[in-house]
């Protein structure tokens, strides 16, 4: 990549930041160039962010409909899934899948709720409810 080929596409995901890339100047040697974004990379990022957002909205609707516990919403809201939430909380995956059921979640002891609160950095009141979107 030559210095003049370094993309400057002002990616919204950079929020005005610039990233450093290495490119070749006229003499054929490497130099540092900052880039405000690449449209190709931005598309991939937005696709991933959009997918996470979609999961979060679906979970919100499921909780509203009484099909999932509020944990489902908070999990996706914090960009986690069952696997990564298991790693972060220390619960087994099957435990988390149980906790995603409203009836089970309602009966959870404060000790278990507090573990989720610590993972998400929120209070018990916030964990057991979901905000209006």
């Amino acid at each position: 990549m030559k210095t003049e080929q370094v993309p400057q596409d002002h990616s919204p995901s950079y929020s005005g930041h610039k990233k450093l890339l290495y490119a070749v100047d006229e003499s054929g040697h490497y130099t540092e160039v900052t880039s405000s974004g690449w449209e190709v990379e931005n598309f991939a990022t937005q696709m991933a962010v959009e997918d996470l957002h979609q999961q979060c909205l679906e979970a919100h609707a499921q909780v509203k409909a009484g099909l999932s516990s509020p944990l489902a919403y908070h999990m996706y809201k914090h960009r986690l899934d069952v696997t990564s939430l298991a790693q972060a909380s220390g619960f087994f995956k099957w435990q988390i899948r149980r906790h995603l059921k409203p009836a089970v979640f309602r009966r959870l002891k404060p000790r278990k709720l507090n573990i989720y609160c610590a993972v998400f950095s929120i209070s018990v009141a916030q964990l057991t409810n979901i905000p209006e979107l």
């Binding site: 919204p12 990233k19 290495y22 490497y30 900052t34 598309f43 990022t45 790693q87």
Partner: protein
């Protein structure tokens, strides 16, 4: 609260770990560029790890695992690396304060998700992000040199603690590190050839049948996975290809999955050693980087409109990358060290 500001040279870099190494060494009076740190650590590689899932998609890495760069560079330059991990977050923060009060600049492993100065779209659960703390202001906020940012930043004690003690895959467990004495008269020259040879030897992957996940073999394997995507739902195919592009470009790689950074290292080495063959290899590595960028463009083209390009075509672009990397390996292995 009294203010602490320790001497630090902040220079923006592409990648967090090589950037931290470069900044920490430069702050201590031993100027080292980011590509040099990356190259000396023989950090370039390729790994496709289907059994490690990130949001349901396989992990794809273009460099050696976290902490390799800092450990290898310290070892090669014969610098003591004092590392500490903590089970108690309060003790971890206390140790950081003490190290700062003693005048050290401190490297930390953190989770990107909990660092408030990151743009919202970049905050994913990645637990192996490195940064350097160089002081604390009167409000008790930490002064941080995050190498991937243009300028230094600040972060509240609460957020920093959260980021240092995030749980999950690659959990940092409060890891902090300080560089010991830096020896006088370090001669990089013999080290450079050795690290290039090491990179070259790793490039073919592991010589064990049935493990096709690393190096050139790994790239062929990924190419095969892409061809087989048409059996999967189209949403999965789009997310999968987008995921590869993000691993290659977004996650601080200096472009093309560290290939440009490695080329920059070879270029710098050729100047330092006055070795023309290294410069020629650097140019070839640039071509490889360009090929990876072409792959990214094609992959995203598929995500935008799947009718405009076939999966086979994308797979072929990637196979070309693998072939070129095989040639690069031969070139690197045939390099003769100048006396």
């Amino acid at each position: 609260m009294s203010e602490i500001i320790n001497h630090l040279v902040h220079h923006q870099s592409s990648h967090c770990e090589s950037g931290v190494v470069s900044n920490m060494l430069s702050s201590r009076g031993f100027a080292m560029s980011e590509p040099m740190a990356f190259g000396l650590a023989s950090a370039l590689t390729f790994a496709y790890l289907p059994f490690i899932k990130l949001g349901g998609l396989p992990l794809i890495a273009y460099r050696m695992p976290p902490k390799t760069i800092i450990k290898t560079v310290a070892k090669k330059l014969n610098i003591e690396l004092k590392t500490q991990k903590f089970s108690n977050p309060e003790k971890g923060m206390q140790a950081l304060d003490e190290a700062l009060a003693q005048g050290h600049i401190v490297g930390l492993q953190t989770s990107v998700y909990w660092l408030p100065y990151f743009p919202e779209d970049m905050r994913f659960h990645f637990n192996a992000h490195n940064l350097t703390v160089y002081g604390k202001n009167t409000q008790g906020d930490y002064l941080i040199s995050d190498p991937v940012f243009e300028d230094v930043v600040t972060c509240s004690a609460q957020s920093l603690q959260r980021a240092r003690f995030a749980k999950g895959a690659l959990a940092p467990k409060g890891l902090m590190y300080i560089l010991g004495e830096i020896p006088q008269n370090i001669d990089l020259r013999p080290l450079i050839y050795k690290s290039i040879k090491k990179t070259a030897k790793m490039m073919n992957g592991l010589p064990i049948p049935g493990i096709p996940f690393f190096g050139v073999k790994g790239i062929y394997y990924l190419a095969k996975q892409i061809r087989e995507l048409d059996k999967k739902p189209s949403k999965y195919a789009r997310l999968y290809l987008g995921h590869i592009v993000r691993m290659q470009e977004e996650i601080g790689t200096g472009g093309a999955g560290f290939r440009f950074m490695f080329a920059s290292f070879l270029d710098e080495a050729s100047k330092l050693l006055d070795d023309q063959q290294l410069f020629e290899v650097a140019q070839f590595t640039t071509d490889i980087g360009d090929q990876w960028r072409t792959f990214a463009i094609q992959a995203v083209l598929f995500c935008k409109d799947r009718k405009s390009i076939s999966l086979n075509h994308i797979s072929e672009v990637l196979i070309k990358c693998a072939e070129m990397e095989k040639q690069l390996q031969n070139k690197l292995l045939s390099l003769k060290a100048l006396a």
